[in-house]
Symmetry: C2
Subunit: 199 residues, 2 copies
DNA sequence: CGCAGAGTAGACAGACCGGTCAACTGTTGG
DNA sequence: CCAACAGTTGACCGGTCTGTCTACTCTGCG
């Protein structure tokens, strides 16, 4: 993630929004505060985005693009086996949680999961955007499972469903870690992933 | 759950708070609206509870007591085997999700998980309360796993950790169902529980 | 009866919210 | 040289937020 100062106003707003909403929540993030932190003025905000919800959608999409390019694609395009890639992904997520939780003074969990729990029932656009982002996550996992199946690492089965199961376990583990405020909870729960992958 | 009219003011506030915060979210639930729906006045609200956060904690504890008495204790004190009890619990949760989502026009997910994602990083009292409620959930699951292990349904293992894994899967599945706005997602993901139980 | 305390009532406060708007600036292309 | 336009600025709006306060009612008890 580039330093905020070097970006243009729109990108600064996007990046600040993602950070603040991850750290706190959508509703606890005020437009005024957000603009201040992004070094932008309210008028600029509403010049680029019709509403706070639209900014949230754009911020999540942008955040996912960064995560995809910075984590998912490198991990899943390696020469490792499907299951190893999966374990590598989990390792990266865990590292990120540890690092961010040290920086912010507590476990933040998954930015998409957080926003989903909070806003899915209140804002349809946000719900749809997150649904798509979840799907993208699952597609990466599914592809790894297919490779694992072809390599004989796991028995043949419904890899799409398996991917959803694994993703659900990830999200649940992040929630437990957040409520316990202990990133190690995530690592321990996640040990079950290999089993779910073969289910 | 008794009809709201027959309860005293404090209980009406508790019940209405749990319902509204489940349906929407903590921050989207206003004190004014809450009082109106509970047929109470602001003065009464702040007579019983020092703040909205304290009400939320009390409402979650009360809701959990209802769920424990109405679902968890009946299910886990039956004469069925440990794994069957677990499946029965999941069945009940699924039925509840289907019913509530028909009533409210969308999947609401887990009231505790929702509040946890939203408020764990913003209100330490809420975080601690939910942490305890999560623990109680896990204790029920763990007890069932111990019975399952003794009956030879699953191999010997760390049943405390297994319980956390299962609980994480449940919470994750509820999140996916909420974001997809489809309660059937929950049922499908949850098919992996038996595997996780034996991991 | 009279009093104490629990609970009720709702006006009020002050901060803060998301969002609007008209005026301004800086750049680009004809 | 100016017109067109993307972007910026910050004052401003009406509404809503949680929480406070004083006055009131009801009930049980000595």
């Amino acid at each position: 993630m580039k330093p905020a100062e070097s970006l243009d106003t729109r990108d600064r707003l996007l990046q600040t929004a993602a950070a603040l909403m991850w750290e706190r929540s959508f509703q606890a993030t005020g437009v005024d505060e957000l603009c201040q932190r992004a070094n932008a003025k309210k008028g600029s905000f509403y010049h680029f985005f019709p509403s706070k919800s639209d900014l949230a959608v754009a911020a999540m999409e942008s955040f996912w693009e960064h995560a995809r390019a910075g984590i998912f694609e490198p991990v899943f395009s390696s020469s490792e086996s499907g299951l190893t890639q999966l374990r590598e992904l989990i390792e990266r997520i865990h590292e990120l949680q540890v690092q961010v939780s040290a920086e912010k003074g507590g476990v933040l969990g998954c930015p998409f999961g957080n926003l989903g729990q909070e806003m899915a029932r209140q804002d349809e656009k946000i719900r749809e955007a997150l649904q798509k982002i979840f799907d993208s996550h699952c597609q990466f996992i599914e592809a790894a499972l297919i490779r694992a199946e072809q390599a004989g690492e796991i028995p043949a089965g419904d890899n799409r469903q398996r991917a959803k199961n694994i993703f659900a376990l990830l999200e649940g583990a992040l929630l437990l870690a957040k409520v316990a405020n202990d990133p190690q909870i995530f690592r321990r729960v996640i040990s079950a992933v290999t089993v779910v992958a073969a289910a």
